[in-house]
């Protein structure tokens, strides 16, 4: 299913805030259609990197190409071809579910008809037909996050960036959320997802583990477990994080 076409190509990415290096010499590729897990403890630098990849912030240095576009020069083109779900919940709480869908659909230039069709399809899939005209603010967090994800891929992007999409929700909802991720992946959307839940790492095709701004390991979950002689990803992560200066 996966071909070996790179959709994200990162070489020697550095991001500094003053003297502090939040991303230190990152180099990796992500291939079309895969689910790429971007793991790390709080403060490891995941959000910093994901913002650079989605054109929200400037890298300090490095070569970065996303969906075939250069993040320095072709940022607006890049934005047409990616979806992004931020770590902070970011649909408009005082608009209804449908108004949010219409608004974002409109920004990406979908026609009224397309928006209506997409909204129907999306609400049916999520089983949220009954809240179509409810304000987002009234909904439980799990529903909001599923909606935010569906809105992020409304325009069929090549890649979707998810920054801790399952933060703060219960395990059942997390499981359902991952079903949505698989669904998107089946449609050919490359998924770049950050998390600090190690069990979620098992759901990814490949994962990178970041510690203090550096990528310390990058492979399939099974290879990583073999390499670190660990029974699960949690153990792999503990082995790597032991060297971290970050104190929880």
């Amino acid at each position: 299913m996966k071909d070996e076409k790179q959709v994200i190509r990162v070489r020697n990415l550095f991001k500094k805030f003053g003297d502090f290096t939040a991303n230190h010499d990152l180099s990796f590729d992500v291939y079309k259609g895969e689910i790429f897990g971007f793991l790390g403890a709080n403060g490891a630098g995941k959000t910093t990197a994901i913002k650079i990849l989605s054109g929200l912030s400037y890298p300090t240095s490095g070569e970065i190409e996303v969906a075939g576009f250069d993040v320095y020069k072709q940022r607006e083109l890049l934005k047409r071809n990616i979806g992004y779900m931020s770590q902070k919940f970011s649909l408009y709480e005082d608009l209804t579910v449908y108004e949010n869908i219409r608004f974002y659909g409109g920004i990406y230039g979908l026609s009224r008809k397309e928006i209506k069709m997409k909204a129907d399809e999306l609400l049916t899939t999520l089983n949220l037909e009954h809240v179509r005209n409810k304000r987002i603010g009234e909904l439980p967090l799990g529903w909001k996050q599923k909606l935010a994800f569906s809105v992020a891929i409304l325009h069929n992007p090549d890649i979707v960036f998810l920054d801790e999409p399952t933060g703060g929700v219960d395990p059942v909802t997390r499981r359902q959320f991952w079903d949505l991720i698989y669904e998107a992946s089946r449609k050919g959307i490359t998924v770049f997802v950050t998390t600090h839940y190690m069990d979620e790492a098992e759901y990814c095709d490949r994962v990178s583990i970041m510690v203090d701004g550096k990528i310390e390991a990058l492979d399939t979950p099974s290879e990583l477990k073999k390499q670190f002689e660990a029974k699960d990803m949690d153990a792999v992560f503990l082995r790597l994080a032991r060297n971290s200066s970050y104190q929880e």
């Binding site: 934005k79 047409r80 931020s86 902070k88 919940f89």
Partner: protein, 352 residues
């Protein structure tokens, strides 16, 4: 935040304490001298010599003077009827008629008092020895009668109310727009916007339109109250007021959005918006006459959108001025609005 908290109030203090005063600075006079006697000339030169008055123009018809007054070129008209000099020579009561632009009732009060003072002075000079034995007051030879144009009752409400409407529209427009984008930064929705291919100007125009509608609505309600509850005369055209309000709101919303794009928290935005709000309003001529301000204060007012709008709305409502009369102010506001919006769009950053 620290510099904002300390520097802004100091700037405010320095500007406002000097600029927003009731001091009388310069009143422009139009003199109608039908007498052309040495006495009338002498009194005119007394006015000219006073630091508070400038004789802008001399003429022979009151109508011509009123035209100048209508255009806000002069603030008061002095009329010397034929026979004035003769009356003075014969030590009979001699009259000077004074017509004052009373749209601003407080300013008109000041003009009256100062004109009175100059005339009093002239009386003293004419008759140093002629003292009324009973009152020990100098006997008045020259006396003056006042007419208050545009606002004969010297009523404060017609003068204040249009200005207060401006204030309402300004508060709503400036604060809503200044809080808006920065609020999206705080709750995080701005990131979701910045990651889309939306153009910066599209985003800001989208912000602008609802605020324009709200501002129009406020103004409408205010105008209804003004005419039907407060019974303020409404001489000019409603369409023109809305045209002016539209151009004005572009400026205010441009400033608000610029503040919003440049700040990180609603608190900062609030503080900066307040700063401009207070300076704009205190210097606008709403409470204290613009003419009372020192030269530099009046120059600063060139950048004060509120003063343009207050001036125009008073002219349109109370004097019935038309498009041609307000064209200059409107043009300046228009350029100002375009500049502010362009800067706001440019300073808004989709990438950090």
């Amino acid at each position: 935040m620290l510099p904002i908290i300390f520097v802004m109030p100091i700037i405010q203090l320095c500007i406002l304490v000097f600029a927003a005063t009731y001091d009388m600075k310069n009143t422009n006079l139009y003199v109608v001298d039908k007498d052309l006697s040495s006495h009338s000339r002498e009194l005119i030169s007394k006015f000219n010599g006073s630091p508070f008055f400038t004789v802008k123009d001399l003429g022979f018809s009151v109508d011509a003077g009123e035209k100048e007054l209508f255009k806000d070129k002069v603030d008061a008209i002095l009329v010397f009827e034929k026979g004035f000099g003769n009356d003075v020579d014969l030590k009979r009561p001699a009259g000077v008629q004074v017509l004052v632009n009373a749209i601003d009732a407080s300013a008109a009060g000041l003009y009256n008092a100062y004109i009175q003072a100059v005339i009093q002075d002239y009386n003293l000079h004419l008759q140093p020895k002629l003292i009324n034995a009973k009152t020990r007051q100098p006997i008045q030879i020259v006396d003056n009668s006042y007419s208050h144009l545009f606002n004969p009752e010297m009523d404060y409400i017609p003068y204040m109310l249009p200005g207060i409407l401006v204030l309402l529209v300004t508060v709503i427009g400036l604060f809503l727009s200044a809080m808006n984008v920065v609020r999206e930064k705080e709750i995080g929705t701005i990131e979701q916007i910045n990651v889309t291919p939306i153009k910066k100007y599209q985003f800001l125009i989208g912000k602008l339109i609802p605020f324009l509608i709200i501002g129009f609505f406020e103004l409408g309600v205010g105008l209804l109250l003004a005419t039907f509850v407060f019974k303020i005369p409404f001489l000019g055209s409603l369409g023109l007021i809305y045209l002016v309000a539209f151009v004005y709101l572009l400026v205010v919303l441009g400033i608000g959005l610029l503040i919003s794009t440049q700040t990180d928290t609603q608190q900062q935005a609030m503080f900066i918006a307040w700063f401009f709000m207070v300076v704009f309003i205190m210097m606008s001529g709403l409470f204290t006459p613009v003419e009372s301000m020192p030269e530099w204060g009046q120059k600063l007012n060139f950048l004060n959108p509120v003063s343009y709008f207050i001036k125009m709305i008073r002219m349109i409502m109370l004097k019935g001025s038309g498009f041609k009369d307000v064209m200059r102010e409107l043009g300046i506001l228009g350029l100002y609005g375009i500049a502010m919006l362009t800067i706001a769009v440019n300073r808004y950053r989709k990438v950090s």
